[in-house]
């Protein structure tokens, strides 16, 4: 099977080369047969990569420890679901998985557009296949995944225990899906630049892909945070580690793109800027992959030098060089058709939103690469930790939250004093109310109260938007309120789904503010029968329990939880020993409530003295972070829902954009 896999990879490499050559030739000569042949070759590339993935999965599931990858990332006692997850648990497998998703997406794009975009498609194929060629080249010549060992070990060294967690089985694929789907808008942008067909078509064709990419990046980041929270046992979910930064940077630029693209559709402005954002997002996904594999930046995840760094760097330079070159070549044709009328307008709010998001991406980038830069410039490595990112990104985030409230309701072109009063008096009131409410509830921190007020402000604007739209429908069309609300959303899923996403963002901000500013942390060594206090909780340690199976040996502390003398529950934080790797890990115990999370870690257990060290965190409002994440996912699903009006607009490509439902909503 592994020979088949290797063969399939070589074949895929050759086919990708063929697809690039024929598509390019066909496009230049305007010979459709060549283009079609290139498309078919691209399908075949996907087939071959699929065979290679199946071969690696087969080797993993049949526990063929003679294959180096299988021996390094699995073991005979590893449960099947984690054995499958081992496909992306290691470098070689993850690169293969990457190539697999990319060629899969490329196939979907080809099928979607087989009757459409005749001029753009050859270049889309060229771009996507060039990216595929890069990954296939790595897999064929640099890090072959099917490499065999000189001997067959009796046992594999197992998947890293920290990765043996259900969040971790879905977090990397989600992030990869997000990374890789950013390649599709990029490919269309390149095609638009290459052909000079710079109209709205490429943007409309890739709108869902951009959303999909953003969707998976969001989900991937949330899952990563959830994983860190449950597994790493330091009481938090986000540490601004380079690996996390690599995942959040394209999210920032993709968020900026999703907003600025509306301005291009409505006002024909920001054409160059949109191109830049698409290029930037894609480049950041490659940069992220580079970061995590090159060892250039030392991270807690620490991926050490793997020899792949230079290849990624070269590819990154190629991507940026070619795309910026094309952009400059077409610059005269990308002139904006409108200008900014006023700073008090929706255009201005969206622009500001874009700069803040790009500013966030830039600050994160700067902080991440700073050690390398300082070493170049001053000869000393200087790092900045989480305090830097919190200091810089915190205020920017607050500004962004403010704009989330302003952007959707301020008038286009120029807002009059009257319209400002009409649109913002209710939200301002609700913002003020929220601030007062949280202050009264005992959240005494100015920074946090500002965040809570802004959250109230944004929620105020969104609720009044829904209210006004529903009332208008009720008045004009005599619908019941439920009917009016659901049709309002159904007629314009993009707009109202977007509002639901914003609600998610607001809730995430609540969770972040609550858990960062009001966190309580306690640690203490306890004998059985001792207790400790943390916030409103009293925890009583009663004893230790041991457990063991073939894969894991564990020690769990029994901790009884009381609030005001009232018994609530028993938590069992554990220390686990994964036998294969002989590595101890921590299993935290969490009791989440809407008010706060009680998070208990068994720090250490000293058998002779019977002392157990507990580390206890109380994280206020943290549940809202996950609820907000779910809301955001729901909202994105609404935005991505099929929309007949939009399809009509795409069919009439080139005709000015019409935002359906706008009349009713305003």
């Amino acid at each position: 099977m592994t020979h088949l896999g290797t063969l399939a990879l070589y074949l895929a490499f050759v086919l990708a080369l063929y697809a690039i050559a024929t598509s390019l030739w066909g496009a230049l000569q305007r010979r459709h047969v060549w283009v079609a042949s290139g498309t078919h070759a691209a399908y075949a590339v996907f087939g071959c990569v699929g065979v290679a993935v199946a071969a690696l999965l087969h080797a993993l599931v049949t526990r063929d420890f003679n294959v180096e990858y299988v021996a390094a990332y699995s073991s005979s006692t590893l449960p099947v679901r984690y054995t499958i997850a081992a496909l992306w648990g290691g470098q070689k497998g993850s690169l293969l998985f990457w190539a697999f998703i990319l060629t899969f997406f490329s196939t979907i794009v080809q099928v979607q557009n087989r009757e459409k975009n005749r001029e753009l498609m050859p270049y889309v194929t060229v771009t996507l296949m060039t990216i595929a060629l890069f990954f296939l080249g790595l897999l064929c010549f640099i890090t072959p995944p099917f490499e065999r060992l000189a001997f067959t070990p009796r046992e594999g060294s197992d998947l890293n225990p920290l990765l043996q967690n259900y969040w971790m089985t879905i977090h990397p694929p989600s992030l990869y899906l997000g990374y890789v789907s950013a390649a599709v808008p990029f490919a269309f942008a390149m095609a638009a630049l290459a052909t000079g067909k710079l109209g709205d078509v490429w943007i409309r064709t890739t709108r869902r892909w951009a959303l999909l990419s953003w969707f998976f990046l969001s989900v991937g980041n949330m899952l990563g945070g959830r994983w860190a929270y449950e597994v790493l046992g330091w009481g938090g979910y986000w540490a601004w580690d380079p690996v996390e930064n690599a995942a959040i940077m394209p999210w920032f630029t993709a968020s900026a793109y999703l907003h600025s693209v509306m301005i291009q559709e409505k006002k024909n402005m920001l054409k160059v800027w949109n191109m830049v954002l698409v290029i930037l997002t894609f480049a950041l996904t490659i940069f992220g992959t580079f970061l995590t594999r090159s060892g250039v930046i030392s991270s807690v995840h620490s991926f050490t030098q793997s020899g792949l760094g230079p290849y990624f760097m070269a590819f990154l330079i190629l991507v940026i060089g070619v795309s910026l070159g094309l952009l400059f070549y077409r610059l005269p044709e990308l002139k904006s058709e409108n200008e900014l009328d006023s700073l008090l307008s929706r255009e201005a709010a969206f622009l500001l939103n874009n700069w803040v998001l790009v500013g966030l991406a830039f600050a994160t980038f700067w902080g991440t690469v700073f050690p390398v830069l300082s070493e170049w410039v001053r000869g000393v490595k200087i790092t900045v930790g989480p305090p830097f990112f919190n200091k810089v990104n915190g205020p920017l985030g607050v500004l962004l939250l403010f704009l989330t409230g302003v952007g959707p309701v301020i008038a286009w072109r120029r807002a009059s004093a009257k319209s400002l009063r009409r649109n913002f008096s209710v939200p301002l009131l609700s913002g003020f109310g929220a601030g007062v409410l949280f202050f009264a509830l005992g959240y005494h921190n100015y920074y946090a109260v500002v965040v809570f007020s802004l959250a109230g402000f944004v929620l105020g604007t969104i609720v009044s938007e829904f209210y006004r739209g529903t009332r208008a429908r009720q008045a004009m069309l005599h619908e019941s309120s439920v009917q009016a609300l659901s049709r309002l959303v159904g007629k314009n899923p993009r707009r109202y789904g977007g509002y639901v996403v914003h609600i998610g963002v607001v809730l995430i901000c609540l969770g972040v503010a609550g858990s960062s500013f009001f966190k309580i942390e306690k640690q203490m060594s306890l004998k059985p029968g001792d207790s400790l206090e943390a916030g409103r909780y009293t925890l009583k340690y009663t004893g230790m329990k041991n457990g063991e199976d073939a894969h894991i040996a564990s020690q769990a502390a029994e901790v009884e939880v009381f609030i005001g003398g009232q018994y609530i529950t028993t938590l069992r934080p554990e220390k686990r020993l994964y036998k294969r790797q002989n590595q101890p890990t921590t299993e935290v115990a969490i009791r989440p409530t809407l008010r706060d999370d009680l998070y208990v870690v068994l720090g250490s257990y000293d058998e002779p003295s019977g002392l157990a060290t507990l580390q206890v965190f109380v994280n206020p409002l943290l549940s809202w972070l996950w609820i907000g994440g779910l809301t955001l996912v729901l909202g994105t699903c609404i935005v991505m829902a099929p929309n007949p009006a939009e399809r009509r607009a795409l069919a009439l490509a080139g005709a000015p954009a019409e935002i359906p439902g706008e009349v009713v909503a305003d």
């Binding site: 390094a72 990332y73 290691g90 470098q91 993850s94 060294s157 998947l159 890293n160 990765l163 046992g233 690996v243 995590t292 060892g295 030392s298 807690v300 995840h301 620490s302 991926f303 050490t304 030098q305 793997s306 200008e339 900014l340 009328d341 700073l343 622009l351 500001l352 700069w355 803040v356 500013g359 600050a363 902080g367 700073f370 000393v380 490595k381 200087i382 790092t383 900045v384 930790g385 305090p387 830097f388 990112f389 200091k391 810089v392 205020p395 640690q523 060594s525 790797q581 002989n582 590595q583 101890p584 890990t585 870690v601 720090g603 250490s604 000293d606 003295s609 002392l611 060290t613 580390q615």
Partner: protein, 151 residues
């Protein structure tokens, strides 16, 4: 032109704000990041500055008091058989031990060096093996290789 100039004022404001935040952020939060070998000759100059030092926990040096959660050990150089093997910096720490902390492990210690004595650590990070590439020993995170050797 009016639209343009407003546009540029906006850009300048944002760029200025981001630049200012980054500048002050770096000034206030930056930490020297050194390997132990680099740190040893400079340690007196760097006394009382925030530092982050990568090294290896020297065998036989770990003292752990589970009651008060006090840890002390000697942070030695990475590379075996290179340079002075006895050189190292004593480290004091109070808190919970990271799971992977053990003698012979590669760790990153963040804290302050007290002139002439020891490093008081605020955090100890063990290189967490994401296992993207575990093969090279002598580098942080070559953990799995070491375990194989231990077996």
């Amino acid at each position: 032109m009016r639209g343009k100039s407003k546009f540029f004022i906006g850009v300048l404001l944002i760029v200025g704000a981001v630049g200012y935040l980054i500048y002050t952020g770096i000034r206030e939060t930056s930490t020297y990041y050194l390997t132990l070998e680099e740190f040893l000759p400079k340690r007196e100059a760097l006394a009382n500055e925030g530092v982050r030092i990568a090294g290896r926990v020297q065998a036989g040096s770990v003292r752990w008091d589970p009651k008060d959660l006090r840890l002390s050990f000697v942070l030695g150089p990475f590379k075996e058989g290179v340079g002075d093997q006895t050189a190292g910096v004593p480290v004091h720490y109070q808190g919970i031990l990271p799971d992977m902390f053990a003698e012979g492990r590669d760790v990153i210690v963040e804290g302050r060096y007290n002139a002439g004595s020891a490093l008081s650590a605020k955090t100890i990070m063990t290189s967490c093996p994401s296992k993207y590439e575990p093969e090279k020993s002598g580098q942080p995170s070559a953990v799995s290789r070491q375990q194989n050797k231990e077996k």
